[in-house]
Amino acid sequence: MKKILPPLIPFVAVTVLVEALVRGGFVPSYLVPAPSAVLRALMDNRAELATAMGKTSAAAFLGFALSTLAGIGTAIALSSSRAIQRSLYPYAVFFQTVPIIAIAPLLVIWFGYGMQTVIACAFIVSIFPVIANTLTGLLSTDPALRDLFRLYGASPGVTLVKLRFPAALPQILTGLRVASGLAVIGAVVGEFIGGEGLGSVVDVARTQQRVDKVFAAVLLASVLGLALFGLINLISALTLRHWHASEQA
């Protein structure tokens, strides 16, 4: 209860305020929907929204999983040598600066309409924080411990698996937390162009000037982001609680 109450108070306050403003006629409902109208839109369109949510979830999750694997893999490769890092890291930064909305139509041409394009969008948008944070983590292993491993003649592979990777976990998980939200954004943007899912629902509802339905779909997208975020927090709690200060308080 102590954990749930603090975030619940501002939520209820804002909801009540918006409802009052719209009902009182201070804000027209075609600009901001009343929370009760959003709730009704959620109920009335539950079948359509559930299907859309399923598609967006799958695409966001797969895009996120791909950036986790590729991001961590890339960071390990980059951390293996200064030369590789210097020559390749600038291109990793490139992913962060890609204006996804501008290249999304090209993705449709490369991958076709449908889920592949949506996954690609989620992947492109979310990979950079994984690379950057994992790299920082891998490069900041305690020098004393590294010396110890060297002293005992541990191979680079063993050092990576037993020391550098576990020590980098807090940073890696931070990268994944940032990436989880971005993956959902990337998926929804991809769906605007590639079709299907919550992005498509938003697009159609916007054309029909159904602000309530737009907000209902946006709400579900945030729930999805929160769920991914929660998953990372769970992994974080399970892996870090025995040794890292961030999970012990």
């Binding site: 027209p28 449709v108 041409i109 079709g195 697009d203 509802a205 029909q208 000037q209």
Partner: protein
């Protein structure tokens, strides 16, 4: 001294404001980049009618109808169906000048498919269309989308169309088909009006509050716009050059071609008698009946409130 001058200023303020108000500064929100469908708005002699108009170009999804309602633009370009929907959601927006008397919306397919009607387009392949638009939903209701793969509309981009013979897409009948032919692809075009759906398009609209507050200003605006369209229809070149500077992505030759091709949609037998941009209650009623069939508005939705001829 200081006090006196201040008082004098306050006394003079209304007069000063009055003289500033002679030229009314007005914002006109477009729902796309400068192109021939807005030619008359760029050609209009606003100054002559005591107006100073800032034209705000838009892009895909610019919510002009909400902008008018929220007061972030005094005038905006909307389509008739969009306006009826907005009114049904409590947004008091009123049409005052309809540029396209006949809907230029259509669907284009590759001519090599030898399709005979709009229904045939929906029998196989891919169709890029904005699913939320009333005409798309009417098509779905009439023919069903079971046999065709429906994907989001890529706006004015025809690259997917050019690469795939089985790809059809929504278009402005005087715009994208032209681009496709330039790219060497022969196309068949099916106007949406073929299925009886023919709302006014590129409609100048203002809020009901604005009209009741200052009908004179709206009248000046409509007069300026009507003159603008007349002169654009008669000679589009100078305006096209100006619009091309603001939207270089469309080349000047295309500007000219589209301006010629769109003429029959704007200058019709009705407008020859009643004047450019004029609307009838009959047409609005037909549209409302169609939207009511889709369940968007109640059957008894009043048509006469949707528009006002100036």
């Amino acid at each position: 001294m200081h006090r006196i001058s201040r008082r004098a200023f306050l006394a003079a303020a209304p007069a000063l404001l009055g003289s500033c108000g002679k030229r009314n500064r007005i914002r006109l929100a477009l729902n796309w980049k400068p192109d021939p469908q807005f030619g008359g708005f760029y050609a209009a002699p606003y100054q002559k009618h005591g107006l100073e108009v800032d034209i705000l170009p838009g892009g895909a999804g610019t919510p002009t109808v909400q902008m008018i309602g929220a007061g972030s633009a005094e005038f905006g370009i909307v389509s008739a169906d969009e306006l009826v929907l907005a009114r049904s959601r409590g947004n008091d927006v009123v049409a005052v000048f309809a540029v396209f008397q006949n809907c230029p919306q259509g669907i284009m397919a590759h001519a090599s498919r030898h399709l005979a009607s709009i229904g045939d387009v929906l029998q196989e392949g891919t169709l890029a269309i904005q699913r939320g638009l009333p005409f798309a939903r009417l098509l779905e209701k009439k023919y069903g989308f079971e046999h065709v793969k429906v994907v989001p509309s890529p706006g004015g981009d025809i690259s997917a169309f050019l690469r795939d013979e089985w790809f059809a897409q929504q278009c402005f009948v005087m715009s994208e088909p032209l681009q496709a032919r330039h790219a060497g692809v022969d196309v068949t075009v099916f106007p949406v009006a073929d299925i009886g759906y023919n709302p006014y398009t590129t409609v100048l609209a203002a809020s009901g509050a604005q009209i009741s507050r200052d009908a004179g200003l709206v009248k000046s605006m409509v007069s300026a716009v009507r003159e603008g369209w007349r002169s654009y229809l008669d000679n589009s070149k100078p305006t096209n050059t100006r619009m091309h500077e603001r939207n270089p992505s469309m080349d000047l030759a295309t500007f000219e071609e589209v301006a010629q091709a769109q003429k029959p949609f704007i200058d019709t037998r009705e407008t020859a008698q009643a004047g450019l941009g004029v609307m009838t209650a009959e047409r609005w009623k037909t549209l409302i009946t169609q939207l009511a069939e889709l369940g968007d508005v109640p059957q008894a939705f009043p048509a006469q409130d949707c528009f006002r001829n100036f």
